[in-house]
């Protein structure tokens, strides 16, 4: 709700926003322990499924079928991980997932930052205004709408593989990313670039050496959104990738739904291995991730 801030003020303020709002000075009131306790209880709804995943992963298959998900593993059985590792071909599917997500992020950042820069700087020109509207159209297009033709198209062009998934993931991030970048770029004063141009820099140099560094916080935001959307997606890769041996991590989890129906301990070991990477990274970088997501959610 701060749209009225001057462009200069916004540009200088944006990079230091940490995502943590300044604590409201509730003078005269003491710390609300009852409220803290109530929220802590609510947080159990988030923690309980994660706890269940961890304890289930360390149970024996006999113990895992008794339905008592919250019980502690007895005896302690770490062998499920080895089995899950082999069944899901973890190193392969993990690497493919990483590759798809990284490529999605790279493609999204490259295409949307370049396009947004030209769109914002030449907004007065019709071509760029219309490009903006055109690119935003994908906000109107959920994947299910074009899924059937997409399956045919990727099969036809030899992109029915992780590469095709990354390209499509990037396409579906494009509208949102262009929106974020262009909103942010409007707040960067054009004078900075003009002085560089007077010193003889080309448009390309201005973009790489001046605009891109200023985009830093938004690059993080767009990157986080693109990474999470790609890394966690099941629908698109399950439709597009035709070779099951090239499937991404979330999709290979479905083998436990059929073949290994009662080996819950192995299934949960696999779920844990699928969930752990992002949760661990998130816990270490949570300040940064939350601030990035908040900036994306509320274009400031």
């Amino acid at each position: 709700m701060t749209a009225t801030a001057t462009p200069v003020a916004r540009a200088s303020r944006a990079p230091r926003s940490s995502g943590y709002p300044p604590r409201r000075p509730d003078r005269g009131r003491r710390t609300g322990w009852p409220l803290t306790l109530a929220l802590a209880l609510c947080s159990l709804t988030v923690l309980a499924p994660l706890y269940v995943t961890v304890v289930m992963a360390f149970k024996t298959s006999e113990q895992s079928v008794d339905g008592n998900a919250f019980a502690f593993p007895a005896p302690f059985n770490p062998a499920s991980f080895a089995e899950a590792w082999q069944l899901t071909r973890f190193p392969v599917s993990f690497s493919i997932s990483v590759g798809v997500a990284v490529l999605t992020v790279a493609l999204t950042l490259l295409l949307s930052s370049l396009a947004s820069y030209a769109i914002v700087r030449y907004w007065s020109h019709r071509f760029f205004r219309w490009s903006f509207v055109y690119l935003l159209a994908s906000m109107f297009l959920p994947f299910p709408v074009i899924a059937l033709t997409e399956i045919k198209l990727t099969a036809l062009t030899g992109l029915d593989n992780p590469l095709g998934v990354a390209i499509l993931h990037a396409m579906f991030q494009l509208a949102f990313s262009v929106l974020l970048f262009s909103a942010y770029l409007r707040s960067i004063p054009v004078e900075l670039e003009e002085s560089a141009r007077i010193d003889g820099a080309t448009t390309w140099q201005v973009f790489w050496r001046i605009v891109l560094p200023l985009l830093g916080p938004m690059i993080a935001t767009v990157g986080i959104f693109a990474f999470l959307a790609s890394w966690n997606d099941f629908m698109l890769p399950s439709m597009i990738v035709s070779d099951p041996t090239l499937q991404v991590l979330p999709v290979v989890q479905n083998i436990f739904q059929s073949q290994f129906g009662t080996n819950y301990n192995v299934a949960f070991a696999s779920y844990l291995m699928a969930m752990a990477p992002t949760i661990v990274v998130y816990l270490f970088a949570q300040r940064w991730v939350i601030s990035g997501i908040t900036q994306g959610a509320v274009k400031s």
């Binding site: 499924p49 109107f140 297009l141 997409e150 820099a201 998130y282």
Partner: protein, 309 residues
Amino acid sequence: MTTTTTAPAAPAARVAAPPRRRRHGRPEPIAYLFVVPALLVFTAFVVIPALVGIFYSFTDYVGFGDWSFLGLRNYAALLGDPGIREAYGFTLGFAVVTVVVAQVTALVLAIGLSKRIRFAAGLRAIFVIPMVVSGIVVAYVFNYLFSNTLPAFASAVGFDPLAQSILGNPDLAWLAIVVVSAWQTIPGALLVYTAGLTSIPGDLYEASSLDGAGPWRQFRSITLPLIAGFVLINTILGIKGYLGVYDVIVGLTGGGPGNATSSVAMTIFGGFTGGDYAYQMANATVFFVITVLISVLQLVVSRGRNIRL
């Protein structure tokens, strides 16, 4: 401003080039090169498939081989198809219920976190975790809880209605999908509301409490009016997202029992294996029109407001 040295070292020959005014001049050729790659791939991978799909929705194409025009017959058939009607009914009902559950919970949590409490940062970090985990994996975990742990618990305390897995009950399975979808999407809404709440000046609350306003009165007269825009946008975006529900259903019920929890996305995907390709493209086109209507609503509402997700 004219002699700042922030510019990178440029080749000597270029320094002589006369400075031009960029803001109102004609775009240089390279500016087009910045936009054209995005336009091209977007056209090739999104726009053309969409147009081709809409085209086939007017034919009897089965995914391969010959086809002929049917006009609007696929659309007419959609209207009379009970399976399709059920899918739309389920998807819309699910979207509305889930958006209410998720938005109310997120708002309550955000208000709680904005008060003076201990461990606010830590608690918020926990509440955001669902945002970083894969929906299908979470659904598999909940699948076990709903089909094994909950019935075991219910029969232990003697509560018979839940002694059977709710995932196998056509009347209750949708509840599980609401729970998991809300679980997954509350963090995003929570962060938006947190940002909205911090934009409210603290003196408003101080002044109102001097006038004798209690917490409920403060919520109704200060908090709610000032974050109404956030609530509206969150709701529209939420509904739009929930309409495409797929992953969570695959992980929980697979659309069953029967077709009780089959969403629109699932019926569309059925067209690839079911041989009714063109028919499902008509279905997809209808779904597209509904999404466009919701998106237009979103743009109208968000104009002048600062929030998009």
